[in-house]
C-alpha cells in the first residue's frame, strides 16, 4: 500500500503535458547524433581512434568490452546512425533508442582516451529517453496510429534536471584558483588565437581571458535558474546560444554546442513549438489520471541521487582532482585543465635486465597524449607491459613509470611515484597513494631539474 505522499507523487509525475517540446528534443537529438556518426566516419576516426590502435585502453571493470572482429566497428557505427535516424523520425522508437544507447555506450566503453563529458551526456540522455514515450508526438508512429498523445510531465523534468546538472556542476567546478585567479587554461588557449577573424586581437589580451573565465563561470552557475524563470528564460537561452556558439567557434568541441543548444530548449514551456507555429499539429494536454508505476518514483529518485553524488565524489579524494584525475570523470568538469605530460616506462626483470618502453612505440598519438596525464591509464598500461614481458621473457618483472605532467601553464613535475611497481598496483575505488602531490598554486614550480 502506497503512502498518500507517494501516491500524490505518482500522480504528479504522470501529469500530462503537451508533447511538442519533447518531440522537438527527440528529433533534434536524433538528427545531431546522426550528424555526429557521419562526421566521425567521414573524418576517418573509426579507423584511427578505434581500429588502428594495437591496444585499446579499457575502463576498470570493463576489460571484457572488446572490439568486434575485422571491420565490425563500421557495422556498429552504421547501427548507431540508423538508430539515431529512427529516433529522429519516431519509428520503432523504443527499440531504436535502446539500440542507440547500447551501441553508443559500447563504443564509448571500448577506449578510455576518447572519454568526453559530452559523450557521457549523450549516453545519459539516451538512457533517460529509453524510459520516455517520446514518439507520441510528431513521429511516424503517431502518424500511423492517427493520434498524438500527451506525455507525462516527469519526462520534461528529468531532461531539465540532466541538462541542468551539466551547467551547474560545470559552473561549480570553475570556482577554483586557476580558473578565477590565473584565468587558466583560457589564458593559454586564447593567447594563440590572435588570428581569429575580427576579434582575434581581443582574444590575445590577458584581460579577455579573465573576462571570459569569470563570465563563463557566472554563465554556468546562473543559466539554469534563469532558464527556470519564465520572464528571464528567452534572454537566458539567447545567452546560452551565444555562449555555445562562441565556444564552438573557438575550440574544437564538435557537435556538443548544438547538443546543448537543442537540449536547453526543454526548459521552455512544453508547447513552445506549437506556439511558435500554429500550423504544427500537437497535442494539447488532456485529462490523464493514471499514475506512474509504483517503482517509478524510486527509480527516478535513485537516478537523481546518483547524478548529484557522482560529480561531488571528487571531494572524497585527497588533493586536487585536476591533478590526480580521481573523481574527475562523470562529473561535468569540462574545459578546466590544459595538461600535458611525458612518460616512459622502465621494465626491470628480476634477473637484472632492464627495458625502457616508450608508449608511443605502440600506442597512437591520442592514446599517448591522454595516457601521459592520466594516472589510471598509466596503471593499465603498466599491467599490459608486465603481462607481455613476463610471458615473452619468462621472468618476473617490475614496471615503473617516469612520468611528468604540466598543468595550466605551470612547469612539469612528477605525476607518479617512480618507485612504485605499477604493474602490481590494483585498481581500487579509494585514493591512489602512488600519485605524486600536485604542483603549488602559484605559476611555475621553480627551475627544471
Amino acid at each position: 500500500m502506497d503512502s498518500p505522499l507517494l501516491t500524490a507523487w505518482r500522480r504528479r509525475l504522470a501529469e500530462p503535458i503537451d508533447g511538442a517540446s519533447l518531440a522537438f528534443f527527440r528529433i533534434g537529438f536524433g538528427v545531431l547524433m546522426l550528424v555526429s556518426v557521419v562526421r566521425f566516419w567521414a573524418k576517418g576516426w573509426i579507423e584511427t581512434v578505434y581500429l588502428e590502435p594495437v591496444w585499446l585502453v579499457p575502463y576498470p571493470g570493463f576489460e571484457w568490452v572488446t572490439r568486434p572482429p575485422g571491420q565490425g566497428l563500421y557495422f556498429v557505427f552504421g547501427i548507431i546512425g540508423l538508430a539515431a535516424l529512427l529516433v529522429a523520425v519516431g519509428l520503432f522508437y523504443r527499440v531504436a533508442i535502446t539500440v542507440f544507447f547500447v551501441a553508443f555506450t559500447y563504443v564509448e566503453l571500448l577506449e578510455q582516451s576518447t572519454y568526453l563529458n559530452h559523450y557521457y551526456l549523450v549516453s545519459l540522455l539516451a538512457l533517460l529517453m529509453m524510459g520516455m514515450p517520446l514518439a507520441r508526438t510528431w513521429s511516424i508512429e503517431a502518424w500511423r496510429s492517427k493520434r498524438a498523445q500527451p506525455m507525462p510531465i516527469w519526462c520534461v523534468w528529468m531532461l531539465r534536471f540532466q541538462v541542468g546538472c551539466v551547467y551547474v556542476f560545470a559552473g561549480v567546478a570553475k570556482l577554483n584558483y586557476d580558473w578565477l585567479v590565473r584565468a587558466e587554461p583560457l589564458r593559454g588557449w586564447l593567447a594563440v588565437r590572435g588570428d581569429f577573424p575580427i576579434i582575434g586581437p581581443l582574444l590575445a589580451l590577458e584581460s579577455t581571458a579573465y573576462a571570459m573565465s569569470w563570465a563563463g563561470a557566472a554563465f554556468d552557475l546562473c543559466v539554469v535558474p534563469l532558464l527556470l524563470t519564465r520572464r528571464a528564460r528567452p534572454y537566458a537561452y539567447v545567452a546560452a546560444l551565444v555562449f555555445h556558439l562562441a565556444t564552438g567557434l573557438l575550440f574544437p568541441i564538435g557537435v556538443f554546442p548544438w547538443v546543448m543548444a537543442v537540449a536547453a530548449l526543454v526548459f521552455f514551456d512544453p508547447s513552445w513549438p506549437r506556439r511558435l507555429s500554429h500550423r504544427l499539429t500537437a497535442t494539447r494536454p488532456v485529462p490523464h489520471r493514471r499514475p506512474v508505476g509504483r517503482a517509478a518514483p524510486w527509480v527516478l529518485a535513485g537516478y537523481v541521487a546518483v547524478q548529484i553524488l557522482l560529480p561531488l565524489r571528487h571531494w572524497a579524494y585527497p588533493g586536487d582532482s585536476a591533478w590526480t584525475a580521481e573523481g574527475s570523470r562523470l562529473a561535468w568538469r569540462v574545459m578546466l585543465i590544459e595538461k600535458t605530460g611525458f612518460v616512459q616506462f622502465r621494465v626491470e626483470a628480476v634477473d637484472g635486465r632492464i627495458w625502457t618502453v616508450d608508449p608511443s612505440a605502440e600506442l597512437t598519438l591520442l592514446q599517448v597524449r591522454m595516457l601521459a596525464v592520466e594516472p589510471e591509464m598509466m596503471r593499465q598500461y603498466a599491467h599490459r607491459l608486465r603481462t607481455r614481458y613476463e610471458r615473452s621473457r619468462g621472468v618476473r618483472v617490475h614496471v615503473f613509470a617516469d612520468s611528468y605532467a604540466a598543468m595550466n601553464g605551470r612547469r612539469s613535475r612528477r605525476l607518479l611515484d617512480p618507485s612504485v611497481d605499477l604493474g602490481r598496483v590494483r585498481w581500487r575505488i579509494g585514493a591512489a597513494d602512488w600519485i605524486a602531490p600536485p604542483p603549488p598554486l602559484v605559476a611555475g614550480a621553480g627551475p627544471l631539474p
Binding site: 593559454g188 588570428d195 586581437p201 589580451l205 574544437p252 590544459e338 635486465r353 616508450d358 611555475g444 631539474p449
Partner: protein, 370 residues
Amino acid sequence: MYRLTRRDGLRALAAALVTAGCSTDSEPPFDAPRIVVRDTASNVLLPSIEAFGTAASELKSRLAQLYAAPSAELLVVARDAWRRCRAAWRQTSVMHSFGPIYDGRLEAKIDFWPVRVTSVDTAIADATADLTGADVYAQGATVQGLPALEYVLFGDRSDSEQVDYLKTVVTGVSPCAYAVRVGEALVLAARDCADGWSTFGVEFQRAGKGSKVYARSLDALNALLNGIIAVTQRMTDLKLGKPLGSTSGGTPAPDLLESRFADNMAADLLSDVASVRSAYLGRRDERAGRGIADLVKDRDAALDRDVQRLLDTADAKLEALPRPATEVIGSQPGSFEVALGALTDVRRVFTADVVGVLGGTVSISDNDGD
C-alpha cells in the same frame, strides 16, 4: 542624458580592436603565433632545405672526382663532403615529420637506418654500367641514401684498403661508380624536398591567412612543435636508446649505432639538436626573426631559459661522448647514458612544458567543452 546608440557600440568595439591590435615593445603582438610560423619558415625551414640541396650537390661532385681519380686524398675530401651533407640533412630533422618530406616518404630514401650492408653489396654486384642516379632513386630505400654512401666511403677497412675497394670491380660496377649514382640519387631526393617545400612552404607561411593547409596559425605552430618533439623522441628512443640496449634488456647493441662506419653518431645527434634549437629560436645563421622561444618567453621567461640551458647541456654531453662509439658504448656506457638523460630532459621540456604553455596539442579528436 546621453543615450548610447548602436553606432557608439560599434565605435567602442572598433576602438577596442585597434587598441588590442597595437602592441607596445613589452607586449607580444596579438598575432604572435602567425609571425613565429612565418619567420621560422623563412629563416629556418626553407634555408635548411636549401642548405641540404647545396650540400648534396657538393657531395655528388666530390664523388665524381673520387671516381675519376681514386686516391686517399680525394677519399678524405669525399668523406668530408659526406659529413657536411649529413649535418645539413640532419639540420632539417624537425621537418621530417610533416610536410613534403613526410608525405613523400623522402626520409627513407635519404636516411634509411640502420644500413643494410648486404643490400648495398648486392646492389653494387647487380649494377650495370648504364645505371643512372634516377634508376637508383627509383629503387628501394635500403640501397641508397647517406647510410649507403657512408658504408661505401668509410667501410671498416684502412684508408688505403678502402681506396682499393672503391675502384675494384668484382661483379657489376665498382663501389665508387655505384657511389656516384647514389650521390646523383641523393641530389634528386634533395630536389624533391626543395620542390615540395617551395609549394608547401608558402602554405605554411600563410597559416591562418588563407593557407590551404593550415587554417589557423596554431595548426602550423602545432606541426612545428610536434616536429621538434618527434626529433627528440627519435634521438632518445631510437638513435641513442636502442644502441644502449633499451630494447635488448640493457645490453648495448653497437650494430644499431647510427653512422657507425664514420663514427659520426654524436655529430648526427648534435645536428638534430641544432635543428631543434633553430626551430625553437626561429634563428639560423644570420637570419633571425620571432621564434617559438619568443612565445614561451612571453608566457614564462624562466622556462625559455631552462629550454636553452637543457639544449646546451645536451650539446655538451654529446660532445663529451668517447670515441669510437662502436668500441666504447659497451665498455663505457655511462657517458652515453648521461647523454641520453640530457636528451630525455630536452624531450620532456618540449613535450610537457613548452606544449603546455603554448596551448598546443597533439590531439586528433574533439576536446571536451561546455
